[in-house]
């Protein structure tokens, strides 16, 4: 390992290293971050949930959105796989169905960035959003 030669070096190094423990920083501050859960049971994976999850992680990072993407088991909406749950800070979680990469892109741009609702919200949860 190279020696750290200056404060600037150190700061640069920090930037690189930070991603390694990002997941923990975010977990610790989960309340203030966007939390996305991807249903990754057999049904989800079969419908391409894994690709969606990778897309989400990559894109969120690219677009500078601090978010925690985790996998979860079957949410019980197998008919609408892949399903994801998005929880914005201070709001109730919303579940989206039939998420592919394009839909995921929509969700990021519209819901996550601006709070606008997009198609495909699974209704049971819609109410909870309404109540708010």
């Amino acid at each position: 390992m190279t020696k750290v030669k200056s404060l600037a070096d150190l700061k640069k190094m920090k930037e690189t290293l930070q991603t390694k423990i990002d997941i923990r920083e975010k977990g610790d501050a989960s309340e203030s971050l966007v939390q996305i859960k991807v249903a990754m049971a057999t049904c989800g994976i079969a419908s391409g949930a894994k690709a969606v999850m990778e897309f989400l992680m990559e894109e969120l990072d690219k677009r500078g959105i601090q978010a925690v993407v985790t996998q979860t088991g079957c949410m019980g909406y197998c008919y609408a796989e892949p399903t994801i749950e998005v929880k914005l800070p201070g709001k109730e979680p919303v579940i989206f169905g039939y998420v592919d990469n394009k839909k995921a892109d929509d969700i990021i741009e519209k819901y996550i960035k601006n709070g606008e609702l997009v198609d495909g919200i699974i209704p049971t949860n819609f109410e909870s959003i309404d109540n708010k």
């Binding site: 390992m1 404060l7 923990r24 925690v68 985790t70 088991g73």
Partner: protein, 592 residues
């Protein structure tokens, strides 16, 4: 996904090493070894519920995990994303699972500054420390500030020594910086000897780099190029992690010559304690580092003038140092916004005793004992009644009900007859005899007195003997007067901090629990039922069914009786061990 496993001494004692291994092999069995990291961290603090496994990013906090639970965690949580409910913490008040530690009563009121990285990073990996802004404080100090400016930040932050005395840290550094010498030393006191306090060990085990960084900051401020950590030999894990950390820091050029391209050089060596509580006193510590008996000497001269090898030396304890890098980075104003007027920041306490949540906590100064004991600590074990809380270890005192709403800080604790000490906090319930508690602490002091000055060497022995006399039911009212006078004289005349505070447990119990002393002396009774000499085990013939369980379990065969007929205890033989009471299913045996 990251799985953090507590690698503190307490959790390791409950085989957290094996948990790490099991988790790793389970992950490998599921082909996930590259996707999921298992990291052993420092102490999470919640020792009562250890071993702890934390799953990130969803911040799930598993308690009392056994190696055999690893399979389920991997299978259910990691693979399927389902939390393993039976391993979650149960809120005793609401009787429901809490998965995120932030919502647990134990953590809710904590602010973790000194412990900021404990249970968060892998202490054996410098990269993780750097990722958490590690070594930026020393970088900032040496590239952007001169020593006095750095000292000014510490002064302004209001940080006071966490080792017991509460001396302002910045002022201490300033004095050492002003004494001119060809060589100066920075010493980290890691000889934590207070029985029941283990925060320093936890910090060294969980975040050794923060101490290393702070020591070099101190070196920069006072003009020292050498640091020494005086650490208890009984802390093998902390020693190991510290050594690893020092090696890594050297490798990165964060210790050694010309740190970060500056002309500041600093390196650290370890010195081992060998089991002497008095070596927590700084002059004794210095003598011990010089290869001598750890006997304190009169101050002045203070170590800042003449310390290790006669050179100006600055001694701070581990927790004090752990606060320093954050203060430099976040600023004095940020730090001084936490805490009370004269005690800034947070304090780590080792919460133990008859309390539900034993563990290590870090709370802002000014929090009340009630919040600590009943909210963080989760109240008294087994629903018993709170009687006292002992703070400050053998140097502190026993506080009672009436002190529960006192905001905790250096000055309030002293005013209440106790002290902050290193931060031990032992909770006692109605079953604890306060005379016996005072005796317990004096037993410790007698054993740990260095023997140099007569009040401590002989006086504490006499205090102990008098307390013993009282717990045997042979005390007199003169003994109580004598206890008080002797205690005051010892406080007034002993050479060092150990002796000057050793009578505190006696004085505070005399002040707050005088009625218990009176009961022992006048009624020959121990109200808490703890003093053996004042108890008799008696079998109620009405309740005894003659099951013989007690007789079979009596280690000294003091119980006799025919089968199915009431038994009897021969009090002359009985050693009052209590085995019979535990075995009796009919509540027929009582203590009188």
């Amino acid at each position: 996904m990251h799985l953090l496993v507590c690698g503190g001494t307490g959790c390791r004692a409950s085989s957290s090493d094996a948990i790490v291994e099991s988790l790793k092999s389970e992950l490998a069995a599921n082909g996930l070894e590259n996707d999921v990291q298992v990291i052993m961290t420092g102490c999470f603090g919640f020792c009562e519920k250890g071993p702890i496994v934390k799953v990130l990013p969803d911040n799930t906090f598993y308690t009392q995990v056994k190696p055999e639970d690893a399979a389920e965690i991997v299978r259910e949580h990691v693979v399927k994303g389902r939390k393993v409910a039976r391993l979650l913490y149960t809120d005793p008040a609401k009787n429901e699972h809490v998965s995120d530690s932030k919502h647990m009563g134990f953590y809710r009121k904590q602010i973790r500054i000194a412990l900021r990285n404990c249970g968060f990073i892998n202490p054996e990996n410098i990269d993780e420390y750097i990722a958490r802004d590690g070594y930026q404080a020393i970088g900032k100090a040496i590239t952007e500030m001169d020593p006095q400016q750095t000292i000014d930040i510490i002064k302004k932050s209001g940080l006071r020594g966490r080792g017991g005395g509460g001396f302002p840290t910045g002022l201490k550094w300033e004095i050492a910086s002003k004494n001119k010498a060809d060589q100066k030393y920075v010493v980290c006191n890691a000889d934590e000897g207070d029985p029941g306090a283990f925060m320093d060990r936890s910090i060294l085990e969980g975040d050794p780099h923060s101490v290393i960084e702070a020591m070099s900051i101190c070196g920069y401020c006072i003009g020292a190029s050498k640091g020494l950590v005086y650490i208890r030999a009984e802390y093998p894990l902390a020693i190991k992690r510290l050594k690893v950390a020092i090696d890594q820091a050297r490798e990165y050029g964060l210790l050694g010559n010309n740190i970060l391209g500056s002309n500041f050089s600093f390196d650290i060596e370890l010195r081992y304690g060998a089991g002497a509580f008095v070596c927590g006193e700084e002059t004794a510590l210095i003598h011990s580092m010089e290869g001598l008996r750890g006997e304190p000497t009169v101050k002045p001269p203070f170590p800042a003038e003449s310390g290790y090898l006669g050179k100006p030396t600055n001694v701070n304890n581990v927790e004090t140092f752990a606060n320093v890098p954050v203060i430099i980075l976040k600023g004095a104003d940020w730090y001084s916004s936490i805490g009370t007027e004269k005690s800034k920041g947070t304090k780590v306490f080792a919460l133990a005793g008859k309390i539900n949540n034993v563990g290590l906590i870090e709370v802002p100064m000014g929090i009340t004992l009630r919040e600590v004991i009943f909210e963080i600590g989760g109240g008294i074990k087994n629903g018993k009644k709170f009687k006292a809380v002992q703070t400050g270890g053998p140097s502190g005192g026993c506080l009672t009900e009436k002190h529960l709403d006192t905001p905790i800080d250096f000055d309030n604790l002293i005013a209440a007859g106790s002290m902050m000490g290193s931060g031990g906090m032992i909770v006692m319930d109605e079953d604890d005899c306060m005379v016996a508690v005072a005796k317990f602490y004096l037993d410790f002091t007698v054993e740990e007195s260095c023997g140099k000055c007569s009040p401590c060497r002989i006086g504490n022995k006499r205090l102990y003997e008098t307390l013993e006399k009282i717990t045997k039911g042979e005390g007199t009212m003169e003994d109580l007067d004598r206890l008080r006078n002797l205690s005051q004289v010892i406080k007034d005349t002993a050479l060092c901090g150990l002796g000057q505070t050793s009578p505190n447990p006696v004085l505070s119990t005399l002040d707050n629990f005088y009625h218990e002393y009176l009961a022992h002396v006048n009624d020959r009774k121990c109200p808490a039922g703890q003093c053996k000499s004042l108890m008799q085990y008696v079998i109620d013939p009405e309740a005894c069914v003659g099951c013989t369980a007690c007789a079979r379990n009596c280690p000294v065969n003091a119980i006799s009786g025919e089968r199915k007929k009431p038994h009897e205890i021969d009090t002359a033989i009985c050693i009052k061990c209590g085995a019979c009471i535990e075995k009796c299913k009919f509540n027929a045996i009582s203590i009188q």
